[in-house]
Subunit: 410 residues, 2 copies
């Protein structure tokens, strides 16, 4: 790809294989010529699954399917295509999912509810599943346990770099591995960019336990990033646990303290992936961390942080390296959560610029201006009413974002 | 001014004088050189007032002042300065308001709570009231009843054209006049653009009655427009009724049916001003009307319409003349209100493009594409659950918006 985000990591990280997980990607031609647009992941029998999905009232057909299938708690395959989101496609969309699922079942000898599908691309265009179904046998023949970068690349749409992350964790003193891939650029451009993440571990965990690990981790990661405040019809995060080769003792209790490290590392991994999505935000030139403290609750803090992160005026100020923190005051004011104007404090790059509801007299603007010129911008706001805190990661809003989105389909 | 919005009206409308209202503008030099930045309006004794103000939790000192003063229901003067919003200025901000008010009181022989002030401009910079107070006597000496265009021009910040509107109405068969001015570009750039509107009538109405006329009219106008979804610290709408020369019988009941025409014309006038603000939206090249029907309630319809109007992806699609209505589906989905995906219908420029949750088979794209290329875009969405409806007016999001806001203060 010609353009690569200036915020991209140097290279794709080394991801260890996860026992019980094999993958293959290829080109089936749903939309793009000359690039891979299909991913098949095979999971060993006994694999459990948990998922979180878009809160959109207009979910895609694959999201409808996965939301239902995940209640079974078992997984044998994942099929992901790009080029068409199979969203807002009515009855034809459901049929396309069913045909894809049938193809995978025939190939791997599993039940339909063990097959998870995700589609990302154009909305509201009917998707023909035939090229996908035809391509699956070829992919099955080249399944490997180490094709992470190819897999992460095959699920890209407007992404400018493939996204992956891994962590190792211990459960009751025994090591397990977590490896995952994600895509998304624009949180979330519905047209060709949608947040998808697939994370795999060899831990042996029942689906119910997996679910209690995934939900809070997703909340602290994918629900704490924003590129443009738009929400996709297709957002999907799936966590699979193969249990293959894991030798930790059985964990069946939802609140088992032996899961502490696993939960922590899962959260880290998801934050890593979520931040990579922000770093690939459409047109992004800067990565910003917004921390809000002193709010009435964690939820209030999150809402205030999001109001700052989503404000076009704050985002354009960041783009322009302008320490125009009056716009931060504005965003706090519009969030609708309790905030004490006359106790409000703001730090930019660690420098206190406002306190007690007004500018800090004679603060040194030079280090603030220098900080704003960097690639990483840190904004901290204390709203002076309580102990709630939250962090949200976002990017700036640039002319490039407009160029990308004002002339997309042509 | 060099640049004038392509959506601006041909010329400033002819506004009739309102008996009991005189005005004068001048240059006091709060911030700008060589342009008028101060407006004084004198109101005849007996004038009543009602106001609606920003919902921001970070209101400016003038908003704090007006919100309190308006409870007295009487008005003798309005003082408006541009260049400095006197927002987030702590105790110094309150003192600046008090000094301005004292100056006006001394000049006109009235009580402090009869003086209304508004400031628009940079946030969080201390404002010296001395130049304002010094300039007031000079303005008093040149008060006129027909200086509407100069008044509307003096309150501009990043506005590219002055905004005014008038209507005549009848109360119990007797004519009254309404004339008003507004400013704002960007709904609402907190830095130098804030929505202010001042409307005057010669009707003789108690403050309580005026209030019940203003609130629903403001809700259908200023609360139904959006440029960038940001909310100012300073938004102020004030309605003054002088009673000067009005010969309609006394109206004292809040729900008096004889006010029907007055209410209707007031709403029309505020919609006119509010739409002028959208037409001067920062960087705007197109004016869009978003109508939502079939929602669970009017409030739900408004929220869905705003989600569409505020979506950066919808706004950039409008900018690019791209009939990419998948983004409208996305915005409906994220609004959080009830909507039936499989009954959703979308019209663009009167052409039905989606129905029953998917694209209309073989609809003619040519008239839709032609409509999207025009200056005025009409989007109608039926969400298929109830009878709630709402209309919101907005503009597109262009590279020019980014240029204006990413490099503002320099």
């Amino acid at each position: 790809m010609a353009h690569r985000s200036p915020l991209a990591p140097k290279e794709f990280p080394a991801l260890p294989p996860v026992p019980g997980v094999r993958m293959a990607s290829g080109a089936c031609g749903v939309r793009y010529e000359g690039r891979e647009d299909l991913l098949l992941v095979e999971l060993t029998p006994g694999t459990t699954v948990a998922g979180v999905f878009t809160r959109s009232r207009m979910p895609s057909a694959p999201v409808d399917w996965c939301r239902k299938a995940v209640t079974g708690g078992a997984a044998r395959a994942v099929v992901v295509n790009t080029g068409n989101a199979n969203a807002f496609t009515g009855a034809a969309g459901i049929q396309a999912v069913e045909k894809t699922v049938s193809g995978a079942c025939a190939l791997l000898g599993c039940r339909p509810e063990e097959v998870f599908v995700a589609s990302t691309g154009v909305i509201a265009e009917k998707m023909d599943p035939a090229p996908i179904v035809s391509a699956l046998p070829g992919l099955r023949d080249k399944l490997r346990d180490d094709a992470w970068e190819a897999a992460a690349t095959a699920i890209m749409t407007t992404d400018t770099f493939p996204k992956g992350a891994s962590r190792s964790a211990v459960i009751d003193g025994r090591p397990v591995v977590l490896s995952g891939i994600a895509k998304g650029a624009g949180m979330i451009a519905p047209d060709m960019a949608t947040m998808l993440a697939f994370v795999f571990t060899d831990a042996a965990l029942p689906a119910g336990v997996l679910e209690t690990c995934l939900r809070p981790a997703a909340d602290k990661s994918f629900n704490a990033v924003s590129v443009d405040g738009d929400t996709s019809t297709s957002d999907t995060v799936l966590l699979f646990a193969t249990g293959a080769g894991a030798d930790h003792p059985p964990i069946t209790s939802l609140g088992d303290p032996r899961l502490r490290d696993f939960r922590r590392k899962l959260t880290e991994l998801l934050i890593d992936l979520a931040q990579q999505i922000v770093r690939d935000g459409e047109g992004a030139s800067k990565f910003a961390t917004i921390t809000v403290t002193g709010a009435a609750s964690a939820r209030a803090a999150r809402r205030i942080a999001r109001a700052i992160a989503d404000s076009p005026l704050v985002k354009t100020a960041i783009a322009g390296a302008d320490a125009n923190w009056g716009r931060i005051v504005m965003a706090v004011g519009k969030a609708g959560e309790r905030a004490e104007r006359d106790r409000l404090a703001i730090h930019i790059g660690g420098v206190r610029v406002a306190e007690n509801g007004t500018a800090v007299p004679g603060y040194d603007e030079a280090p603030v201006a220098a900080h704003m010129k960097g690639r990483e911008v840190e904004i901290a706001v204390d709203v002076g009413v309580g102990r709630g805190r939250a962090t949200v990661w976002t990017c700036d809003l640039t002319e490039e974002y407009i160029r990308i989105n004002a002339d997309y389909r042509s």
